[in-house]
Symmetry: C2
Subunit: 199 residues, 2 copies
Amino acid sequence: MKLASNLQEQVASHLRRRILSGQLLPGTPLREQSLALEFGISRGPIRDALLHLTKEGLLVAKPNVGVRVAAEPSGFKRNVIVHLRREIEASAVTAWFETRDPSLLRRLDDNLALYREACGGSDLAQVVELDMAFHRLLVETADKGSLVDLWLPIMLRMFLRYSRHRDLMESYHEHASIVRAMHGGREWEALEALKSHIV
Amino acid sequence: MKLASNLQEQVASHLRRRILSGQLLPGTPLREQSLALEFGISRGPIRDALLHLTKEGLLVAKPNVGVRVAAEPSGFKRNVIVHLRREIEASAVTAWFETRDPSLLRRLDDNLALYREACGGSDLAQVVELDMAFHRLLVETADKGSLVDLWLPIMLRMFLRYSRHRDLMESYHEHASIVRAMHGGREWEALEALKSHIV
DNA sequence: TCGTCATTGATTGTTGACAAATGACAATAA
DNA sequence: TTATTGTCATTTGTCAACAATCAATGACGA
């Protein structure tokens, strides 16, 4: 899951995980030099990675000063984000019901099994990863995955406050009920379950 | 408008303008070396700028190969984008009606005057710039501008097909009618005008 | 005492050289 | 002819050194 040939992407996904799993709290400054030392590489790829994460909304950059982990979105912003996510993911699911390609259902089932396990365990980073993967599967199916790049930064901003305010097992059951409705071909039910899951 | 102390942002906004105004067509490859030569700087800041634009959706990058100007979004994707933009900008305008801060109205009026002029002239880059600025003003007012970073990449992807399919003067009148409704305090009318303007 | 302004240390911004990967083309063999 | 392999030029990826900038500190003068 983590393999990438170029260093910047390796660093980016590593930091992404640390931020989303709550190991790096909002406001924490990240220095290029220290990160370069920590990863044993030069500052170049680090800069690229930080730029990635900044554009994704996980970091905020001040010119000539550096980057910090972004603050959780305000209530107002979060509300908008919720609506945007619903719009994107609902569009994708609606599109899926046109074809009902069963390969998606298989992948969702696989994800669900792993997710259930992870929710029982204590590896929060793994839980976040699988939760993310679930929704990514939904978004990817529509229109040859064209929505993913639109969806990702929105999703990430929402996940900035993942760790707290979340009952993991309940989240699992919500995923399961979405998939169940899709298996049964009940479009309206799937969309309702999705909408009430995204909060 | 163009001033930025760091080179990457100067390069980024320059390329942004060239792409949005249609001088760089979808599919056109951009080489770091040639750009560095063209701007008379080294490849470092160029890389940063290209990364910015890639994350904004104006370019697509293939690892170890390079970047090209992004293709126009598909019909499906564009439809989603339209809904996202409406959601964001309508939220912002709704929030404005809570306070009705008159300083926004003043700035919108200023923008309208310039926009009208530009629509008459032939400088498409200027038209795009002002159109963008108009909507940015709307988005900026709400919640201390927190929606801007969410809105920008969505807006830019939509503007990839700005030049064609657009009657400039009609666009001006739509802007004007939005502002007119806001001046008059007619919230519903403003939101409807906004919604029908975003297509 | 308070405010202003140089100094200084830390951090980002920029550069040019080098390493690694890719795609195109030509040579070779079935 | 067609598929495969090897070579080469082009382009991106990475690196370490240098320059520019900022924020904090402390000296200075009102």
